[in-house]
């Protein structure tokens, strides 16, 4: 059976991973679109920078975040906000990469047609790019959510391992392994796996059942 602390860790994990995903969404989608469409000379540099958390060890990312937060928002350290921020930073490259790949697959001439019809950049984004990239956005957000759910290295550096406040599932499992007297970790591990699979399945379902026009299109077709 799940221990009371396990349930707390589970709920906290859901809270932190959802907050991280939501925080990723707007900047991640916009950055993915920008990387796919921009001709800017800065693109290569920006791309390396935003995708770095994919290859830099999470502990190192956490350390850099720790230094940054200590200077700018010290009050956030060792709170679930810090855990969410760490998860978001580590997860956002997955969203960016997926969105970029999807947008690169969209014929850029659709946006040009819209421009010749008088559409502003914002209207093109809202009525063309985002609806056509909708599947990629959902897929990328699901990946980011799953990554945030499993986040360990950066989280423990900036948020610590405080029961009930910042101890998410990976930290709880890690704590249990450290202590020979702790109750069995198996139920929590099973719950964690179930949650992760449910997250991926939910994403798949959304991709498959959501029509690709996304949330902004009006449905007038029969």
């Amino acid at each position: 059976m799940l221990h009371r602390d396990d349930v707390t860790a589970l709920l906290l994990s859901v809270q932190v991973s959802l907050a991280a995903t939501l925080a990723c969404l707007v900047p991640g989608v916009l950055m993915g679109i920008w990387l796919a469409r921009s001709n800017s000379k800065l693109r290569g540099f920006v791309e390396t920078f935003v995708l770095a958390p994919l290859v830099v060890p999470p502990v190192v990312t956490g350390l850099l975040l720790l230094i940054l937060l200590r200077e700018l928002f010290p009050a956030l350290l060792f709170t679930w906000w810090a855990a969410s921020l760490a998860s978001a930073v580590v997860a956002i490259p997955l969203l960016i990469r997926t969105v970029r790949a999807t947008v690169e697959g969209i014929d850029p001439r659709w946006a040009l047609v819209a421009a010749t019809l008088g559409a502003s950049r914002l209207r093109i984004l809202r009525t063309i790019t985002i609806p056509l990239a909708w599947r990629g956005i959902v897929a990328g957000a699901t990946l980011a959510w799953a990554r945030a759910l499993g986040e360990f290295g950066a989280t423990i550096v900036v948020a610590g391992n405080i029961p009930g406040r910042t101890r998410t599932i990976p930290l709880a499992v890690w704590t249990a392994i450290q202590s020979p007297t702790a109750p069995s970790v198996v139920p929590l591990v099973i719950a964690a796996i179930a949650l992760s699979l449910a997250a991926v399945a939910a994403g798949e379902w959304l991709v498959r059942h959501q029509r690709h026009e996304g949330p902004f299109a009006r449905h007038t077709a029969p």
Binding site: R109, L112, T116, S120, P131, A217, T220
Partner: protein
């Protein structure tokens, strides 16, 4: 008045054109890679010209010397119809049509465009379910509804089978007649340019090599183009034709047509409406017309029209005879035939056309 002075250099290609035109419908003709699409893209602002000016009826669309006078793509007011239509795949036909439509702007009335292009029955359809011809009509309607200063049509008939291309040509003709919007029409066939355009420019390797009235320009177009000419023209239905016979009038002469299929398939081109004042658009291949100096007797062909040669042009592959039978037709013949029939401008001839050689393209 359209004023174009544009330079654009790519790695292996340079566009360099400076010309003005007063034509309402200007045709651009040239082989692939001659710069037709690049020219349209520069006018629309999709490709940035290296230098140049584009003005239409006094409005400056582009002026590289004074960038503040240049308009961004969305304010240029060009209705661009791309080769493949490029309908927005996630929207319905009606949503596509209304995308650039501004009821309060200079845009034409929505229902009038729908009527001319016969789009009413398609409005609720998804774009993926449209046929090639339907998709082109929707793309035309969408461009028109944005209230453009200038229409850019990039080979709107390419990729359609012959019959569908003919129907679309007929729709284009009604549209350009009903809405007098300055238009640049790009094509790689001269038959449609001769029918639709007041003036044609021949482009080659990024340069304007010849310009003039499309019919006079045909020989200069040269090459395989000459072997595949269709005479496309308007004709009035003949109300005195016997029952069961589809016939049209060209001047005082009757033209009997065996092809009545499009009349059945298109609501506005039923025999009833054709019996009124409306005209039909017919097409005859230049190869399918036979010339005779004396009126033939006992021929199976249903049509023998009297006419006169207006001029003859020698091309690489033969001779084009321009004849006036009440409408000007181009007939493709051999130099030997010209010699034996002693054809020269002013010569009286009879044009023999099988009823099955004539197609009705639309209203």
């Amino acid at each position: 008045m359209l004023d174009i002075r544009l330079r654009k250099r790519f790695d292996a290609f340079a566009l360099d054109i400076a010309a003005q035109s007063d034509a309402r419908v200007l045709g651009l003709f040239g082989p692939s890679g001659s710069g037709k699409s690049t020219l349209l893209n520069c006018i629309a602002g999709i490709v940035a010209a290296d230098s140049g000016v584009v003005t239409i009826n006094g409005t400056t669309l582009l002026d590289t010397a004074a960038p503040s006078r240049s308009l961004p793509i969305r304010r240029r007011g060009v209705g661009y119809v791309f080769q493949d239509g490029l309908l927005l795949p996630h929207l319905t036909v009606e949503e596509n049509l209304r995308y650039g439509w501004n009821a309060h702007g200079a845009a034409p009335e929505f229902h009038r465009v729908i009527a001319v292009l016969e789009l009413e029955s398609l409005l609720r359809r998804r774009t993926a379910t449209l046929s090639g011809g339907e998709a082109r009509r929707v793309a035309l309607g969408r461009a028109l509804l944005s209230g453009p200063r200038l229409l850019l049509l990039d080979e709107p008939l390419t990729g359609l089978d012959w019959r569908l291309a003919g129907r679309t040509l007929a729709f284009l003709h009604s549209l350009l007649t009903a809405f007098a919007i300055p238009t640049i029409y790009v094509s790689h066939t001269m038959s449609d340019i001769m029918f639709l355009c007041d003036e044609a420019w021949l482009l080659d390797q990024g340069c304007l090599v010849n310009r003039g009235a499309p019919r006079q320009l045909l020989p200069a177009a040269g090459g395989p183009e000459i072997d595949d000419i269709y005479n496309v023209f308007e004709a009035v239905p003949d109300p005195t034709a016997p029952p069961g016979i589809t016939a049209f009038r060209i001047g005082a002469q009757r033209l009997v047509v065996a092809d009545a299929r499009p009349l059945e398939t298109s609501p506005s081109t039923t025999m009833k409406s054709l019996g009124g004042k409306s005209t039909a658009i017919l097409s005859i291949p230049a190869d399918d017309i036979i010339l005779a100096r004396v009126q033939p007797q006992g021929v199976s062909a249903r049509n023998v029209l009297a006419g006169r040669v207006t001029h003859l042009t020698h091309t690489e592959t033969g001779v084009l005879a321009y004849i006036d039978v009440g409408s000007e037709w181009i007939v493709s013949i051999t130099p030997a035939a010209v010699r034996e029939l002693e054809l020269s401008p002013g010569a009286e001839v009879f044009a023999i056309v099988k009823a099955t050689s004539i197609s009705i393209l639309g209203k």
